[in-house]
Symmetry: C2
Subunit: 371 residues, 2 copies
């Protein structure tokens, strides 16, 4: 078994670089001091994300391939959330010397498979030793002449819509932690569909955690359809929705039943997890004293689904892949709930997220730093 | 004393973001899913580099400010080496929870000071906890309509030229390791000039290691003056020159006396280091059994000077900051040395770097991974 410490930096790069896709916007790929990319409309979009071993992934569950797929996908979701088409990524990789070379080449293959659906290139990188695995990805995108879709553009009267899976990643992580699904998963990409989840489809939930498959095309389609605001859902639906609400200076009200079908679909996984770990396990967080609480937490507060949340003008026809899940209200407006509830919302110091007009129970989502 | 674990991710970002410069090419700065940058000629240049604690810097010598300055500078050097003007950077930062907040805000200030000379923006980032400090920077640049200057363009007959300091960074590191200069240095930027180094100017050598100041403008000027090939010198002059030679399919011959003045200027530091650590200390590497060997190693093999090496057509007028240091030869040509020496060069399997027609002694420079 070859470990990375057995090879020089240049020898490792010789194994990695041939695995990486060139991409349709790449004018000059890896091998020089820098790469050169096309920016068709004289602008480019850029975002960066870092994955740290034992914080964002665990090598006992995630192969190098999984981490590469996830790193590409979750970064491209940030590009899609601007309404842009992903064009290229660069990677900084920190690897302990005893890492197997196969893990590193697997990562490269995962990056390549993450790039493939959008035709993006993997155009450069840097490699260093270090005490734990760190994968830092910077992604780029092309707005193709459109204005970027910001978080700040939601207006009262807009429709709130969602694209992607809901709660699958948190459920998949819980299944892994409870030992209910074995890894590694098959390296073949698992198709994520919008259909009803079968009882025996736990592997799909685990795949959603290990290798999220964000609705990248839906971001571009939303921009074309006139989305007024959009963001990637990485830290939990309610937490990220709060960011959009604050940036726009509005209140986002979700339909109470918007995700009932999703919660139903997660019941079998929740029952199994509860049976394996004990119902109301403190690790599941507040409000999870029963199965319904657990599926609610997965859907409303679970991180890393990397779906997209957007707002559209009232009456706009939602593009394929998008589901209406709520409405945008002004801060001073009377909500849809009972009088006492509306007062609580109006009394908030700033914008808020409500579910059926009510402030949700405390489900703060994920804080990368304190975790 | 505030440590990062005392604050949430959002609270830390609230301290960092106001310190970061917007930059002249920034259309949308931090705060959304991604930033938007201008690409004036429909292309952009991108490069990434990672700095790992105890590999690329040590916190007992480098403040957060130093690491920020260095991270920006060494990345921008890669952009300059393409003949491009740096426009923007994004940062992924991994910090242990017990890191002082001042270290992180110092890093942001250092990044800002590294951006200032070129008007670049710091337009986004990501923050995570982790077991050691990791700073991953991705930089972008604008070719302003010019073709990129590649490593592969050197042609027989070209002049080899250099811009920047030579051996200062390695000498500065040696002075630190020998305990001859106290840190932290003053946060005021130390001017690096091309003049003769004073005997009492060791702080400048240390500053060249802690906060390199690459000749960024010289990269753009070289491109405008018709440079045929160029690269950033990060892993040592001979090692990096070999990369340019291989990419171009040529032999690079340095004038034997090209850097004699630089070596003379480093003599006082070398004498002091040798007195402190013992002459011929195995830590100094091969060929360093005397003072002259030590200064030679610093100049020819010392890493992280982040000067630029370029080739220009014969007779081209070198821009300000550039010094002619050698010539480009074809692989089959007869060199300038003695017959036996030339045979050795011709007998090499591929392109080579020579000094006065002779193959240099083994001074391989820096391998990030094996170090």
């Amino acid at each position: 078994m070859t470990r990375v410490r057995d090879l020089s930096e240049e020898q490792i790069l010789e194994r990695i670089v041939p695995l990486l896709p060139r991409g349709s916007a790449t004018l000059l790929g890896p091998g020089d001091d820098a790469a050169v990319l096309a920016a068709s409309d004289g602008r480019f979009v850029v975002s960066t994300d870092v994955l740290v071993e034992d914080r964002h992934f665990r090598t006992r569950w995630s192969t190098g391939y999984d981490v590469g797929r996830r790193a590409a996908a979750q970064n491209f979701a940030d590009i899609a959330a601007m309404g842009a088409r992903p064009t290229a990524l660069v990677t900084s990789l920190v690897v302990p010397g005893d890492t197997e070379l196969d893990w590193v080449t697997g990562l490269a293959t995962g990056l390549a498979d993450g790039c493939a659906p959008v035709g993006a290139g993997a155009v450069g990188g840097d490699l260093s030793g270090g005490p734990c695995l760190v994968v830092s990805i910077t992604v780029h995108g092309d707005l193709e002449g459109r204005p970027p879709v910001l978080r700040s553009g939601a207006r009262p009267g807009d429709v709130v819509a969602h694209a992607g899976v809901r709660g699958w990643s948190a459920a998949g992580l819980a299944l892994l932690e409870a030992g209910l699904v074995r890894t590694p998963l098959s390296p073949a990409p698992l198709e994520v569909t919008d259909g009803v989840l079968l009882e025996d489809a736990w592997e799909r939930l685990v795949a959603a955690y290990l290798r999220p498959d964000p609705p990248l095309a839906a971001g571009v389609e939303a921009a074309r359809a006139g989305a007024t605001a959009m963001l990637d859902l990485s830290d939990g639906l309610l937490r990220d929705a709060g960011r959009l609400a604050r940036a726009s200076g509005v209140r986002l009200d979700f339909d109470a039943g918007a995700f009932a079908k999703d919660r139903d679909a997660l019941h079998s996984a929740a029952r199994a997890v509860a049976a394996a770990t004990g119902l109301g396990d403190p690790g599941w967080g507040p409000g999870t004293s029963d199965i319904d609480g657990l599926t609610g937490r997965w859907v409303w507060a679970g991180g890393e689904d990397h779906g997209l949340l957007a707002t559209f003008p009232a009456g706009a026809r939602l593009p394929a892949g998008w589901t209406a899940v709520g409405q945008v209200h002004g801060l001073g407006e009377v909500g849809v709930g009972e009088a006492g509830v509306v007062e609580a919302v109006v009394g908030e110091p700033g914008p808020a997220v409500t579910i059926g007009g009510e402030l949700p129970a405390d489900q703060p989502g994920w804080d990368h730093f304190r975790a």
